[in-house]
Symmetry: C2
């Protein structure tokens, strides 16, 4: 299955009718073949017509049949073999091992949602039986089930070309919920996107689902994405990317005649708190782990540790010295796109130029590569400069040196909403942890003990979300099985006879869903 | 406990420092004593400081202790006795029996949330245990729990001065979730609001909760409400009222540096579908039930049946004739406020003036009273005039006469998002019901068989919500125990030792919460 430069609309591989663009080899900046073409407005319309036509089928389909679809999708992605890995390596500059692991994660994520469908808790069935003889008046028969919202627009991320893109967490959770998906392909990996979309469309056809179940629309501009979010047939949006782009989509969604939810995962500095007793016993060990996390994938993770909080003093100085050594040994990294690389360089330079900020550790740099850096600042400097609160997308972090634990708590209270907060502590720090934990839970979706946020487990208990601007909706997660809830809403059926109830709500319980019943 | 004209801030009954206003006797338009005073910006600030200070305590409190608080609130409201009913009757014009029933509903709703807290499912605890030896790499210990969002601003409705106001569904579900509540009192029943707030503050003090757990801010303008929604300490908004006011609050919430969720229940016409076989067998019976529902509480229900869909013909004509008789026998009703009464009269007059619309049934009217009406229009007229899609808040409905079932489905597909859709059918209509049910579920939060939406059961399986503009967030309900979910977000704790975990997540499970565990 070679790359042809196509989109997928209503299950068919078609050339876009719009402007031409190319994938770019991340390591060299060279154009990759073949050319891609953005889709035209008429092609966007065709994709939306097909998605809307498929919505009723999907919303009413048995969870087990959607589970089969997701498993077939996983199998077809694996079947793509090295063609997929080779293309993704070229387009993203990520190494083979990382992409092979990400492919497995992507397939397992689809399979995990299949299991979630078979377990059935997502449907949230509640049955409250009638009581015609109730003294206060007849009580009706009420039955509640979670139902699919309708077609979902998905915007993939550049930094996970498989696990957060065409068949990533948003797509798999939306399909699991019973929503058709229209993906706006990320222009940083159009060939990877096309290959995966082909696998998904094959699975849709094999499983007998409607052709509008899935579409991939290629575009290297913003017009197609804006048109999707503005269209009345789209009922929710999943997005992973920059704060600017996420906020722009949220504004479009809120301005519609019928506003819709936007689940945008956007921006975080993921504070790492280094408490004194732990720093005293293991400053060098933590420094090594920190630099490994900071530079993993050239620092291009949503959960990259971009902010450190510690109490100034000799142990903090030991930590800085060890970071300096580790960072100096790091070979400058390829970044996902030339644009991301340039942006990182200018953001890091701007941070370094803020009065009161010092660059205390720096790796080599090379043309078109990202160098790693650690900056330091006082708590007063951090609190006074909002610029220091913004994410640096790449291998750079800022260490805020606080006078004492009270000032550290003050800094933690001042950070914006986060995906993660990590706390490093020894036994003697437990009292401080107790004080800080409520604050950390207020600021983030996930709080870690003695670790780093990179490495997001796909699990029923994962939360990859958090208060604004980490995401646009702190009530949700974009990783883990709870992500399916984003694409469902409750519906109540009152007093319907058994033979007219949806399958999910009949007394016969043909789909064998778990249910809470009030007699 | 007489009415003093006060607000409640940080648990203390205080006179507002702003402009003076009065409650108004609904039946006469006379001013009620004593005078009320709007709170000042400094008093709003004081309420927010107290709410923010209470947030950590509430979020970390044991579900069982919040259950006790809610039960004490229910008891203190009942303890108010006839003073409450008498004041509410004067301010709203609603009859004694209705208000006594609503008081019981309000108390039972608080007790139902107490039961929900004791059952513990709301906490959604998920534990995914560590596996340090996993071949693909060590698996962390992950524990998820639903946590309170923080202080919530609540805007009560005029039409339920008890059950959707100071101690209504929004307040009880937010407190149950562990969120402090700041109520902006509805100026249509300030004395009722003060009495109930006094009962709640007494319960807060008796149960040892922080003084900032609950506040009531009186205001007859929009400034206090706008200030609440714009303030960074408020983390969510519950609202029941007009579409215009709900949308204005949603705009403020979306424009904040950190946008917050707004749960506004705003506007619905609640389509009632009359299928042919049922109309043939019982046109007169349905007409009587319909007029009873239409005129209940002078038509001032969110779920009032404001739109009827039927196939034109002799049975439809029988229905109209029976409605005409029943409406003619209705004595014009007192409305909640003079403003609502005037607004209803002008909206109904405007609907009647639309070309193609005919007034086919009309009760007597009287000065300051609402007359009941039934209008008819063709499907073509309805589809062509958006004005006919708007809610008439009062005892008036529009019957859309369709040529056939296909046209009826077309009309149903064109209605805006609804709280309820009701379908009246006989056995011979089952095929039509099967065709229409997916469409009805797409348009509404609740679909009823052979009934009317008025009478909203407070139940674990109730959905009082629906697609925009019925509400601003179709993923939620404002009635029933699922309403608690609106004020919670998931948080994940990773790799914390037992003695540092929040009580909700320890292996010891001191709060005895139900939990799903993956070993």
């Amino acid at each position: 299955m070679p790359v042809s430069g196509h989109s997928f609309i209503a299950g068919v591989s078609v050339a876009g009718e719009g402007a031409t663009f190319h994938g770019i080899e991340a390591a060299s900046g060279a154009l990759l073949q073949p050319a891609f073409h953005a889709v035209s407005p008429a092609q966007v319309e065709a994709a939306l017509v097909a998605a809307a036509a498929a919505a009723g089928y999907l919303a009413g389909s048995a969870p087990a049949s959607r589970a089969q679809l997701l498993e077939a999708m996983a199998d077809r992605i694996i079947d793509l073999g090295d063609v997929l890995i080779d293309r993704a390596m070229a387009e993203t500059g990520l190494p083979r091992g990382r992409l092979a692991g990400e492919r497995m994660r992507t397939a397992n994520q689809l399979r995990l949602f299949a299991r979630t469908l078979r377990e059935g808790d997502f449907a949230g069935v509640r049955i409250d039986r009638a009581d015609p003889a109730r003294p206060a008046g007849p009580k009706p028969d009420l039955r509640l089930v979670m139902r699919a919202l309708g077609p979902v627009a998905v915007f993939g991320a550049s930094n996970f070309p498989l696990a957060f893109s065409v068949a990533g967490g948003d797509t798999s959770s939306a399909l699991a919920a019973g929503c058709p998906v229209v993906v706006k392909g990320h222009p940083a990996h159009p060939g990877t996107a096309e290959l995966v979309a082909g696998a998904l469309c094959q699975a849709v056809a094999d499983c007998g689902f409607p052709a509008g179940t899935f579409a991939l629309l290629q575009d290297d501009g913003i017009g197609v994405g804006q048109a999707l979010v503005a269209d009345t047939r789209i009922k929710a949006v999943g997005f992973t990317g920059s704060r600017r782009a996420g906020e722009a989509l949220a504004v479009i969604a809120a301005s519609r005649p019928e506003p819709i939810p936007v689940y945008a995962e956007m921006s975080a500095t993921n504070p790492v708190i280094l408490l004194p007793a732990r720093l005293e016993e293991a400053a060098e060990t933590i420094a090594a782990s920190f630099v490994a996390s900071l530079t993993l994938g050239s620092g291009q993770f949503c959960t990259n540790p971009g902010l450190l909080l510690a109490i100034a003093g000799p142990d903090c100085d030991r930590f800085i010295a060890a970071v300096k050594t580790a960072i100096a040994a790091w070979a400058p990294g390829v970044m996902l796109t030339p644009g991301i690389c340039q942006n990182f360089a200018s953001v890091a330079e701007a941070i370094g130029a803020v009065p009161g900020v010092t660059c205390v550790a720096e790796s080599e740099t090379a043309p078109g590569r990202a160098g790693a850096r650690l900056f330091t600042a006082s708590a007063a400097t951090y609190l006074a400069n909002r610029q220091l609160h913004a994410e640096m997308f790449g291998p750079a972090a800022l260490l805020v040196q606080c006078a004492d634990a009270a000032e550290l708590a003050q800094v933690l209270a001042a950070v914006e909403g986060q995906l993660t907060v990590a706390v490093h502590f020894a036994d003697a720090d437990h009292g401080l942890v107790r004080d800080l934990l409520p604050l950390a839970m207020d600021r983030a979706g996930r709080v870690l003990a003695n670790g780093f946020g990179t490495g997001v487990e796909v699990s029923p208990a994962m939360v990859h979300g958090g208060p604004y601007p980490a995401t646009t909706d702190s009530r949700t997660t974009s990783v883990g099985t709870l992500a399916i809830d984003r694409f469902l809403r409750p519906i109540c059926l009152q007093d319907f006879p058994e033979d007219l109830l949806p399958q999910s709500l009949t007394d016969a319980n043909a789909w064998d869903l778990p249910r809470k019943i009030w007699e």
